[in-house]
């Protein structure tokens, strides 16, 4: 392969397009592309959003959502055999007997653990199970911020309207209501934990717009908002001595004769040993499905985002919703190759950077709801052929980041977007001087396990919070509502579980639902050797896998 000449981080041939972007910048600083009407949104979504591609989905053949359309990658997991057989596991003795079992140690899980503890459950009666390290999650990666309507020109009513409109009026209104009404309370709790939100000298929160917001209500901590919150949560969980099992996955939930969830079978990823947990409440906080690479999209998600939670919940009969709605973040990195698919935070647009095509022209309002914005970028690259092609054949549009320092003063990017700046500097790109190339990337599981306002699923004894759930955001989540979601419903799940701890009685542990599920698969003529949950994605090289022997 002939070497491409690289000039300040970009192949020389891209420089011509960058010059076009520079040429139009002055004019664009004065004029922003108008936003779309609801009809226009509808049209562009139908034509260009990957969710509307019919051949990418199929009706799932078994279970409570039988007949619902889901991406093949999700349906594959629901139409798969359990990892364990009931006869392989000795349920006569529980290795752990707790009030609250929390499956997933990200933002939702840690919040639930802390609030269960605050609500009266002793630390030793809580168990947090985490597939990777405590805190390894999408929560730690979220950059842009958290929404809360706490300014005088704003109100939870307006926040509610934004949430519902952004979700195309498909949200569960009760959950959306809870989300917006509890938001300020979460900000206050975070303040008390020590979260360093960006503030004015008098304490006023510095807030900006996100896609689809009508007020500036995005609170952030530089562009490490998720990291900052998770560091605090993690330290607090450790300080409270809440027991944690790291590198341990839940591979199946347990039920009892009262048809309630009664704990889980865990699997030590390193020693391959199983453990039986009996629990009065089980809270699913397993996050989403980015690592399924739906429609072969790259993803912003962390290594463990493999949809384990929906598989576990579905096996015990919990109802799911909106799993057909996949969120593609409009701006994933399209160049350089090493970081393709990683997040370029919406805060970059929130601070004024516009998406522009190879000719330096605007083609979309910079802050449409995410699915609309993503669709416009796909249209620009594939229908209008106005994208910039990378050396590996990816197409993308420019995000004109140098506008930020022009609009808000030199040093703004250094101060407000250090993570982004660092990310690109590692590959010799200076985003204060040059635009960055972006294309939509798989970002968020909009749907999931159905919950009510108390974070209870449709199955007794099973609660859920965070990305694993569905309803709060309908078919499309807005920026800044995912940290809020896991905080609000993580907290509620912890409180609900603490209440249940007082009265719940757990009977004899069984895996009868596994036997039933197998029967259901058979009756639906599902013949497959797939097993789920998959726990981790498979990224080993093809050559190695083709020669692997299973002898050790």
């Amino acid at each position: 392969m002939s070497k491409i000449k690289i000039v300040r981080g970009y192949p020389e041939y891209m420089r011509e397009s960058i010059e076009a972007v520079e040429k139009t910048r002055d004019g664009r600083l004065k004029e922003t592309f108008p936003h779309m009407s609801l009809e226009e949104r509808d049209e562009i979504l139908h034509k260009f959003h990957p969710d509307y591609k019919k051949e990418a989905k199929r009706p799932v053949k078994v279970g409570p959502n039988k007949g619902d359309l889901m991406p093949h990658e999700v349906a594959d997991l629901l139409e798969a055999h359990p990892l364990i057989k009931p006869e392989d596991v000795d349920l006569s003795k529980a290795d752990f007997d707790v009030d609250v079992l929390i499956i997933g140690g990200g933002g939702a899980g840690m919040t639930a653990a802390l609030w269960a503890n605050y609500s009266g459950v002793d630390a030793e009666n809580i168990l947090v199970v985490q597939k990777l390290r405590l805190g390894d999650s999408n929560s730690i990666m979220s950059q842009g911020g958290i929404q809360a309507a706490d300014k005088s020109n704003d109100s939870p009513v307006l926040h509610y309207l934004d949430v519902i409109g952004g979700g195309h009026f498909t949200n569960d209104p009760k959950l959306a209501r809870r989300l917006v009404l509890d938001a300020p309370l979460i900000i206050k709790w975070h303040e008390e934990l020590g979260v360093m939100y960006d503030r004015e000298t008098d304490g006023t929160m510095i807030t900006i717009h996100g896609g689809g917001t009508c007020r500036k209500r995005m609170h952030s901590a530089r562009d490490y908002t998720g990291l900052e919150i998770v560091r605090n949560l993690k330290d607090e969980v450790l300080n409270k001595n809440i027991p944690i099992l790291e590198f341990t996955s839940a591979v199946e939930l347990l039920t009892d004769e009262h048809k309630q969830v009664a704990g889980a079978v865990l699997y030590n990823m390193e020693t391959q040993e199983y453990y039986v947990v009996k629990a009065k409440s089980t809270i699913l906080t397993t996050g989403g499905f980015g690592r399924l690479h739906i429609q072969e999209f790259p993803t912003t998600n962390h290594y463990g985002a493999t949809a384990d939670g929906i598989v576990l919940a579905y096996r015990v009969g919990a109802k799911l919703r909106d799993l057909d709605a996949v969120q593609y973040h409009p701006t994933g990195a399209a160049y350089p190759e090493q970081i393709v698919g990683l997040l370029v935070t919406e805060k970059v647009r929130g601070l004024g950077a516009q998406p522009v095509n190879k000719n330096g022209e605007q083609f979309v309002y910079p802050r449409e709801p995410r699915d609309v914005e993503a669709s416009a970028i796909i249209r620009e690259c594939y229908e209008r052929n106005n994208g910039v092609e990378t050396p590996t054949g990816m197409k993308g549009v420019w995000l004109d980041s140098p506008m930020i320092d022009i609009l808000h003063g030199e040093g703004t990017i250094v101060k407000k977007l250090p993570a982004m700046l660092r990310q690109y500097k590692r590959f010799d790109i200076d985003m204060t001087q040059d635009p960055i190339l972006v294309f939509p990337t798989l970002h968020f599981q909009n749907g999931g396990v159905i919950i009510n306002e108390n974070a209870e699923t449709t199955v007794q004894g099973l609660l859920a919070a965070g990305e694993v759930t569905g309803g709060t955001h309908g078919k499309n989540r807005l920026m800044g509502n995912s940290i809020l979601d896991y905080s609000v419903f993580g907290r509620i799940a912890g409180v609900t579980a603490a209440k249940r701890a007082k009265n719940a009685k757990i009977g004899k542990l069984t895996l009868n639902h596994v036997t039933k599920y197998e029967k259901m698969l058979k009756e639906a003529d599902v013949t497959t050797d797939r097993k789920a949950p998959i726990l981790l994605p498979e990224y080993r090289g093809e050559k190695v896998l083709s020669r692997a022997l299973d002898i050790f």
């Binding site: 609801l38 990957p50 390290r133 390894d136 999650s137 999408n138 730690i140 990666m141 706490d150 300014k151 939870p156 009513v157 519902i164 009026f169 209501r177 917006v180 009404l181 300020p184 309370l185 206050k188 303040e191 008390e192 020590g194 360093m196 503030r199 304490g203 006023t204 929160m205 717009h209 009508c214 007020r215 490490y224 990291l227 900052e228 560091r231 450790l238 590198f247 990823m269 390193e270 790259p298 962390h302 290594y303 399209a334 190759e337 090493q338 990683l342 997040l343 796909i378 590996t392 990816m394 250090p418 993570a419 660092r422 990310q423 590692r426 590959f427 990224y539 080993r540 090289g541 896998l545």
Partner: protein
């Protein structure tokens, strides 16, 4: 419409040594992806894959150079002749404390992390930091009890543990910094009064009626209200 973000196969190959064992991998991969290409499946040493979690701390050296270098496996591109090994866990001290009972005093760091007084200003921690933070400077600030300085200099810390592993006097800079940020956020930064006020309004039920109306109104009405809502200007 077919969205095809094609990737052509790279032909250029580099030789790397994963924990000493030689593998040939395509040039341009990160250490993490190169290890996977070679056949490793991570359980440890891999978290967010995006430079935020600090889970893939890595030590490497390039053939012909004696220097040990530090990086995040997900953020560092492989080089020909690279010897690489991960440090998936740092057995560092993390004292237990109740933040409610602490105060942002000058001595708080010396109380919980007395070893910071042993800092010899060798700057090895700073050189080890894959985030390019001024680690030694903030350790020095901690010795002085300057909470704000520690909090601000350390803010972008992803707690990968490399500074602690390199420190010749066994200081755990990243945990010192965590304590500083929490104290600073909780006790030193001014509180947002508007948050407090809004919580009181919500608790008094001020918005209940309006949200109830939105919940009950017809879809057409709701859509109209949404379209007509006023957008706060930049």
């Amino acid at each position: 419409m077919e969205i095809k973000q094609k990737k052509e196969k790279k032909e250029e190959i580099v030789r790397i040594y994963i924990m000493g064992r030689e593998y040939k991998v395509p040039a341009g991969l990160t250490i993490m992806k190169a290890m996977e290409y070679a056949g490793y499946r991570f359980i440890r040493g891999c978290g967010c894959r995006g430079g935020f979690c600090g889970g893939c701390a890595t030590v490497y050296r390039v053939k012909g150079d004696y220097k040990l270098r530090m990086a995040l496996a997900c953020q560092k591109t492989v080089e020909d002749g690279m010897y690489t090994s991960q440090i998936p866990f740092t057995p560092a001290e993390k004292p237990i404390y109740n933040l409610e009972e602490l105060s942002p005093s000058v001595n708080v760091f010396l109380e919980y992390y007395p070893e910071i007084a042993k800092c010899v200003s060798c700057n090895t921690c700073t050189k080890a930091c894959p985030q390019d933070l001024e680690v030694m400077d903030y350790v020095q600030a901690a010795i002085r009890g300057d909470i704000q300085e520690v909090a601000e200099l350390s803010f972008d810390c992803i707690m990968c543990g490399l500074c602690a592993m390199r420190c010749p006097t066994e200081i755990v800079p990243y945990n010192v910094a965590l304590l500083a940020r929490r104290l600073y956020g909780k006790y030193v930064m001014p509180k947002a009064k508007h948050v407090e006020e809004r919580i009181k309004e919500i608790e008094s039920g001020k918005f209940d009626e309006e949200i109830r109306r939105l919940k009950e109104t017809s879809m057409n009405n709701l859509k109209e209200m949404y379209e007509k809502r006023e957008i706060e200007p930049e």
